[in-house]
């Protein structure tokens, strides 16, 4: 094959660089970083950079959890509700005098039960994930508010030093960042090097083929939602530690869409089977830089949402130029 022929087929030379959505988003993130560093006073201050990292850590952890589900062609819209209610229960149990270990185990167990119930609804009852988790998120919130916690805002007890320590720092590095790194590393290893990780990719890629190949698709689906719920509980504990409160109204906020934004922006296609933890990290970094910059600029919440949406659109448009959907990819059902 001559070089010129190859050129002719793909148009300009730049697509040959092997740009993917992941690298594009990474470059956009660097560009934002550079622009903010030059134009925004105080952006490069080490305090600000640390708080930037700290603030995106929770989003990143949730993004990893969502990523695991989305790669398997699912979606977990109940993730934020699970996070809020399981953590709120743990904290209010502690307030009521339950010892920390039991409180944490109960909260974790609650999250795990939610995950298993969602997995069963999706895998065995065969309800589409988007409806099952949307309905579950309302059920979780309602059930939690009725039966588990009395208040919308729950304060972390004064004597819970271990909980405060979770969001401390080690030699200058905020611990939430380390937790994010740890979760990302474990998820990376799970997806990349284990048999079950491959099953998740296979199910997202072609569910029917995965079934026929003999992959236990139903238990695997339950496992995905179990993992995402349990990770969400962890993210909730870190949030509680950072803010010293749990505000269960977050369950009804748009936070879950921020999580989806991180995942999609990083390049994990909603059609499943694509991407990995690296994509989540890249998406998280961009959103983190963007949110931090906009906060320093003191933009309104509405304007911030508009910017986030626009960024997602740009990423998708650039991706469609760089990875054109020609007839051959279209035949394979590429979305």
């Amino acid at each position: 094959m001559t070089e010129t022929a190859a050129r002719k087929a793909t148009g300009p030379a730049w697509p040959r660089l092997g740009l993917t959505q992941e690298t594009i988003v990474f470059f956009i993130a660097i560009a934002f970083f550079a622009v903010f560093a030059v134009t925004l006073p105080g952006f490069m201050a080490s305090d600000n950079l640390l708080s930037l990292l700290q603030n995106v850590s929770v989003l990143g952890i949730l993004g990893v959890a969502m990523g695991i589900v989305v790669i398997g062609r699912g979606i977990d819209l109940a993730m934020v509700a699970t996070m809020a209610m399981s953590t709120a229960w743990t904290i209010s149990l502690m307030n009521a005098g339950t010892d920390a270990v039991s409180a944490v185990l109960l909260g974790l167990g609650f999250a795990a039960v939610i995950g298993i119930v969602m997995g069963i609804l999706i895998a065995y009852v065969e309800i589409p994930a988007i409806f099952a988790t949307l309905a579950m998120s309302t059920v979780i919130y309602g059930f939690g508010r009725l039966a588990l916690v009395d208040l919308d805002v729950i304060y972390v007890p004064e004597d819970a030093d271990w909980l405060r320590a979770i969001s401390g720092s080690v030699s200058g590095v905020p611990l939430p960042v380390i937790w994010f790194g740890l979760v990302a590393l474990l998820a990376y290893a799970f997806l990349r090097f284990t048999r079950r990780g491959r099953y998740i990719y296979a199910m997202g890629d072609n569910y029917e083929a995965a079934r026929i190949t003999g992959i236990p698709v139903r238990p695997m689906t339950v496992l995905q939602y179990l993992l995402s719920s349990v990770i969400a509980f962890g993210a909730g504990i870190i949030t509680a530690s950072l803010l010293a409160t749990v505000n269960i109204r977050v369950a009804q906020s748009t936070m879950v869409y921020d999580v989806i934004l991180v995942v999609v922006l990083g390049g994990i296609g909603l059609s499943g089977g694509k991407g990995g933890v690296r994509n989540v990290i890249v998406g998280t970094v961009l959103i983190g830089i963007l949110l931090n910059g906009m906060t320093i600029m003191d933009l309104s919440f509405t304007l911030q949402n508009l910017v986030k949406g626009a960024v997602l659109l740009v990423a998708i448009i650039v991706d469609s130029f760089v990875n054109p959907r020609d007839e051959q990819t279209a035949q394979q059902g590429d979305i």
Binding site: M1, T2, A5, A6, K8, A9, T10, F193, T194, R195, R196, G197, R198, Y201, A202, D205, N206, E208, A209, A210, R211, I212, T213, G214, I215, P216, V217, R218, G273, K274, D326, E327, Q328, Q331, Q332, G333
Partner: protein
Amino acid sequence: MSAPLIEMQNVSKDYRGVFAVRNVDFNLHAGEIHALLGENGAGKSTLTKMIAGVTQRSEGEILLDGKSINFATPAEALDNGIAMVFQETSLVPSMTVAQNLYLGEEKLFNRLRGLYIAAQQFLSSLNFNVDPWANVSMLGAAQKQLVEIARAVRLNARVIIFDEPTATLTPEEKHYFFSLIERLRKRGVSIVFISHALEEALAISDRITILRDGELVASDTTDKFDRDSIIGHMVGRSLSDELFYHKHSEDGARKPGKKVLSVENLSMGSMVRNTSFSLYEGQVTGLFGLIGSGRTETAKIIAGVLKRNFFHGGELRYLGKSVRYRQPHKAVMDGIVYVTEDRKAEGFFDQMSIAENIYMGDIVTNPPPGGLTTAGAQQKITEEWSKLLQIRAINPNAKIVELSGGNQQKVVIAKSLTQKPKLVIFDEPTRGVDVGAIAEIHKVIQSLADSGIAVLVISSYLPEILVISDRILVSRLGRVVEEFSPSDATEEKIMYAAVH
């Protein structure tokens, strides 16, 4: 002969430097039936898609009535009288047959009754037995194909391109289809049809063009060709002896070993009706049946692929135990694998590499130590099976979608065979597979039986059934109705048992 209606001059199409079609000169005359033949991946579909505006050429000229054309969309081609009927159906599944036929021509207020009456009359004028009220999603593959053909005919196209029109049709429907295109030709319509069925091409076409590896290797009137010469052109070697026209009965059929599976009075809805048969170790059992005879459904019940709520009754005994699989997982773990007839929809993982696809089968039944996958194990198993099945890929880490149909099929087969099965069910193992790969897949099937595995091969291609089976079952209307030994089976006898 008059000037050609469509003239392609030196046309090429490449995908990022890989040529699907290269420097082809192809002529289509008014009122001729032109068969386009070639192995899978030879560029037949791409060539015709360029005429129909589905893809655009990279180089060369296409002339219609002497004027250069370059259609950007199929709709534009249609306006110029060129229609294409695709292999994969392009019907709207949630609409009725009549609605699909008149799609895009609805008035603001449709008279439904009129629509259905018109559709009914039109379909019967073509001799197509399709209910215009039926929802397309409820139709079988063959009936969908008929609707698709009817739609193209209705649009009064001057050129109709059929991509494998007969692959899913029953002999009766084929007969009507051929008489239909004969009538179309008399009306001056030019027909291009892509096919793997050489006998059909020889029987009905006026001219034959053969492509190999994207290049045109032969194009002439049909009387200049015979079966052997076509195969010779297609593969660049004479394969026909190796393929279908020998019977392996010199050394006799293999004797049955231990009974592996017995199916007793199995029923499921209207597709499988009270069918009974057995499969034995070390034997290839061929199962022949027309579309709608319940072959695939029976196989899918055995392998646990079809869901339990459709399961109506009967008993399956596998290795002496009564089994009732609700998910394929259990069946695969017990040694029953099903190699699908539709590799794209349920066979391979299209975002994965060849190696990852093959390894996926292995890790299901043979968990790696600690549940950890390794690149080394993946490479080893891929090398082993690529050699056994002669999978031709330059790089095992290339994506599977870059392979030709035959090689993709081999990867899907390899994925199942890594699972050390005791019973392998092949559903149309050579559908959409090029001639060279067919022989190799047949060899693999034979060697499985030689090594003592029970093999069931479902096929609607008679020469295939005759050449690979040690025992032939014929299925009709949901049940196995007859059994033949290969020495006394003939195409006529089998077909007689299969038609209803």
